[in-house]
């Protein structure tokens, strides 16, 4: 798998189809982010399914000038890049995605519904996995769900990892950091932190689960995002990353009607 990916990247660099490959290089025993400029550099190329490579891409994008960048993408990475491109934060014309399917085991770990990109260059597509926690949360009463999240959010120590590592949480100056909405009153932060974070990414979340992986206290944010994605689908018939149209939340009713009136 890793070798296949390196091979494709080598070809892309050799043929000058791209100017760099954003990926990981084994340094010691640590996969380290790097932009490979030469095919010869790819000797210690590494692929890691859960690395937030799109967040990295987004962070370095303003510095890339006219460079064309290739990267190995999983299903979630691909969708994230599409969401960013929709907002013209990155430019698809300068991005070459090398598609890689995730293993069954990885799909299970991620509770991932779509563990493969549209164009799969490497690996074979496996079936998606339902998020059982999200399902059971749906079955709970409102009070039970409230208590569940109350207990989870109590642990939060406001590291902002959920937004720092999120590929589609794009604001430079985050509203969560602004004491206006989430009072700066130490930890745990008020529920406003979690509500606003989820609300802000709701219409662009592609369910990579990086928020949950980044959480030092393991709040199951992925399941929350799963529920929210279902909501958006029900309300607007919209799926972030899959739909090419604009987010329905910002358009008029004519452009994207509400499927279901809230009353």
């Amino acid at each position: 798998m890793k070798e296949d990916a390196a091979k494709i990247c080598r070809r892309l660099l050799d043929s000058r189809e791209v100017d760099g490959v954003l990926g990981l290089e084994m340094v010691g025993n640590i996969p380290t982010p790097k932009v490979f400029a030469q095919a010869d550099d790819l000797g210690r190329f590494e692929v890691e399914p859960v690395f937030p490579i799109v967040t990295l891409l987004r962070n370095i994008w303003p510095f890339t000038g006219k460079e064309r960048i290739a990267l190995v993408v999983r299903g979630c990475h691909e969708l994230a890049i599409k969401e960013l491109a929709k907002r013209e934060i990155v430019d698809l014309k300068r991005i070459h995605m090398v598609g890689m399917a995730c293993s069954e085991e990885q799909a299970r770990t991620c509770r991932c519904l779509r563990p493969y990109p549209t164009k799969t260059d490497i690996g074979t597509k496996v079936k998606g996995v339902e998020d059982e926690l999200a399902k059971s949360l749906r079955k709970m009463t409102l009070e039970e769900r409230g208590r569940f999240w109350e207990e989870q959010f109590k642990k939060c120590n406001k590291c902002y990892g959920c937004s720092e590592n999120c590929p589609v949480c794009v604001c430079e100056d985050c509203a969560l950091e602004d004491c206006a909405f989430v009072r700066t009153e130490g930890i745990p932060p008020s529920k406003a932190f979690h509500i606003i974070r989820a609300y802000h990414v709701a219409d662009k979340c592609i369910e990579c689960g990086e928020c949950e992986r980044s959480c030092p206290v393991a709040i199951p944010l992925r399941s929350l995002q799963r529920m929210l994605a279902d909501d958006i689908k029900e309300l607007f018939g919209y799926q972030a990353g899959m739909d090419d149209r604009q987010s329905p939340v910002v358009t008029t009713l004519e452009d994207a009607p509400l499927k279901e009136e809230s009353e």
Binding site: A180, H200, V250
Partner: protein
């Protein structure tokens, strides 16, 4: 510098003071942060009241003012002017409504109403402390106009503007000017024929110097008040010009009621406009039944077209004038003979022998016939029995329906349509010939079915309104607009998608994409603010900080 806030609580005679303990509110207000003066007036809006506010501003060095009284919707300008007169920026003022929103609606709860008034004042004080001075700015206006639609309305408006000396473009889709009127048989109650009338107008239009574009289609309109770029295709040839204002006079069409009452099946079932053509040629129609509200005021098209009743009255009279022996019956659901002149005409029509009978939507007349339609049967309300009305000709009064091009034009002009597809004015009473979008005006049947005199007066009004910015050569832009903090904006485009006025665009600043607001286009609704995730776009006078300071007044203890 710490703000120096003055708070003025109004008794409004007994209107407020009977329910709210004004002195207590004053006492409370004086304890609030940064309040250097709190006072009360019997009538703040009176000359004395305003005078004392001005005097206190100067005496106490007040730099921000809160007035707690009635509603800003009526009195805000007065107090803003007072602030300005006393030397402080008119936007450093906050109005607290303790009459309509407090004393008048909690009349039996003096204690709770007083507590509420205190909280409302506290909210106002919190906000005013954070307000910043605003300036209305100016932007230039190109001294020319475009009028879209060459009917009576369009011609009238164009003539009026051209006569005032403004370069005026009149853009007509068809090959000649005249709109619906040119097809009418008679103008009522005027003596002149429609043809004469239209010809006179065409001549006037030409004489006034209006640049007439026939067989022309609007390709594109971009820009904002004072600075629209219009692209048309005139006989297939593209032409571009700049105008400062646009008047929409696209008119309307008569509904062809195919399938209703045998229309399209029987040759003697015709519409009013078809009748007019026959009458114009002097054709005889014999005994006639007219049915009103065909295809109107019913599910699917609920509006009243208003002018059809008078058309029916007019044409009934003309039939009788041509064929005094004919019997004319008008079957209607209500007669819309609005205004005194029309009411008199209706009365006269009855006196002249036209019969008026009512039907209901639930019980519509039924048409019978073989090759031709022969009679209708209807339930007569007062007799409460079916009666049959035989006829030679059945005339259907159908409503005017919106111009099908409205949808296209609406997007270019960024103006709204109502649910029926007519253009929607800014306010039915206060701004009847304008759109919410500045610099775009409306008249005639594009808004609503109107008769000729109405079209003419609306067109005159629209032209008069449009001439204001043209004459000034500049417009003051809203002070309450949105602004972008370009250092934090990520250029995600949420605000652009949200703005109904197309006032926001992406620009590149030091290699970063950021949103920017065109102040001349911004109407200050703040919808963009609601869509911005990190507060990079803020609405002047309603910033996040200002609104949150008010919210905090409710979440913190008293």
């Amino acid at each position: 510098m710490e703000p120096r806030i003055g708070v003025f609580i109004c008794h409004c005679g007994s209107n407020i003071a009977n329910t709210v303990d004004v002195e207590e509110v004053v006492r409370y207000a004086s304890t609030l942060p940064d309040v250097v003066h709190a006072d009360h007036n019997m009538y703040s809006c009176s000359e004395d009241g305003v005078g004392s506010i001005k005097a206190k501003i100067k005496e106490k060095g007040i730099d921000r003012v809160v007035v707690a009284a009635c509603t800003p919707r009526t009195h805000e300008p007065l107090f803003r002017n007072a602030c300005e007169a006393a030397g402080i920026n008119r936007y450093l003022f906050e109005f607290v409504n303790i009459r309509e929103h407090c004393s008048w609606i909690h009349m039996k709860e003096r204690e709770l109403a007083t507590e509420k008034a205190k909280r409302l004042v506290r909210m106002g004080v919190a906000k005013v402390a954070l307000l910043t001075p605003q300036e209305e700015s100016e932007s230039p206006v190109v001294k020319s106009a475009a009028v879209i639609g060459g009917g009576v309305s369009g011609m009238t408006a164009a003539i009026s503007l051209a006569d005032q000396g403004f370069e005026t473009h009149l853009i007509e889709k068809g090959s000649e000017l005249g709109g619906l009127v040119k097809d009418l048989g008679a103008l009522f109650p005027s003596e002149s024929t429609p043809l004469e009338f239209v010809k006179t107008m065409r001549d006037e239009t030409a004489a006034s110097g209006v640049r007439i574009h026939l067989s022309s289609e609007i390709k594109d309109i971009q820009g904002y008040i004072g600075n629209f770029d219009v692209t048309i295709s005139e006989n297939g040839k593209e032409e571009k010009f700049k105008v400062g204002v646009v008047i929409t006079a696209t008119g309307a069409d008569e509904l062809k009621p195919v399938g209703e009452y045998g229309y399209g099946r029987y040759p003697n079932v015709i519409t009013q406009s078809e009748l007019e053509k026959k009458l114009a040629k002097g054709e005889r129609v014999g005994n006639t039944v007219m049915i009103q509200c065909v295809g109107a005021r019913q599910p699917g098209r609920e509006y009243c077209s208003r002018i059809c009743c008078m058309t029916a009255i007019k044409n009934a009279g003309r039939i009788l004038a041509l064929e005094p022996k004919s019997r004319v019956v008008v079957v209607h659901r209500d007669i819309m003979s609005y205004n005194a002149r029309n009411e008199a005409l209706y009365r006269k029509s009855m006196e002249d022998g036209v019969t008026y009978l009512r039907y209901t939507l639930e019980d519509k007349p039924r048409v019978e016939g073989r090759d031709r339609a022969e009679k209708i049967t209807l339930r007569e309300e007062t007799l409460d029995e079916d009666i049959a009305l035989p006829f030679d000709t059945l005339v259907l009064s159908t409503p005017l329906v919106p111009n099908p091009d409205n949808g296209k034009l609406q997007k270019m002009l960024k103006v709204p349509l109502d649910r029926d597809g007519f253009f929607l004015e800014a306010h039915v009473k206060l701004r009847p010939v304008e759109f919410a979008t500045d610099g775009v005006f409306i008249c005639g049947c594009a808004r609503w079915p109107s008769d000729v005199p109405e079209c003419i007066s609306q067109a005159g009004a629209a032209a008069a309104k449009a001439s204001i910015p043209l004459r000034a050569g500049k417009v003051r832009t809203e002070a309450i607009t949105a602004e972008v903090d370009e250092t934090t904006c990520t250029g995600c485009g949420n605000c652009i998608a949200t703005c109904a006025y197309g006032a926001i665009s992406i620009v590149e600043v030091e290699g970063m994409r950021v949103a920017r607001v065109n102040l001349a286009q911004c109407k200050g609704c703040g919808a963009c603010v609601g869509s911005c995730h990190n507060g990079s776009i803020q609405q002047r006078g309603f910033t996040e900080k200002q609104l949150i300071s008010m919210i905090d007044c409710l979440t913190e203890g008293d």
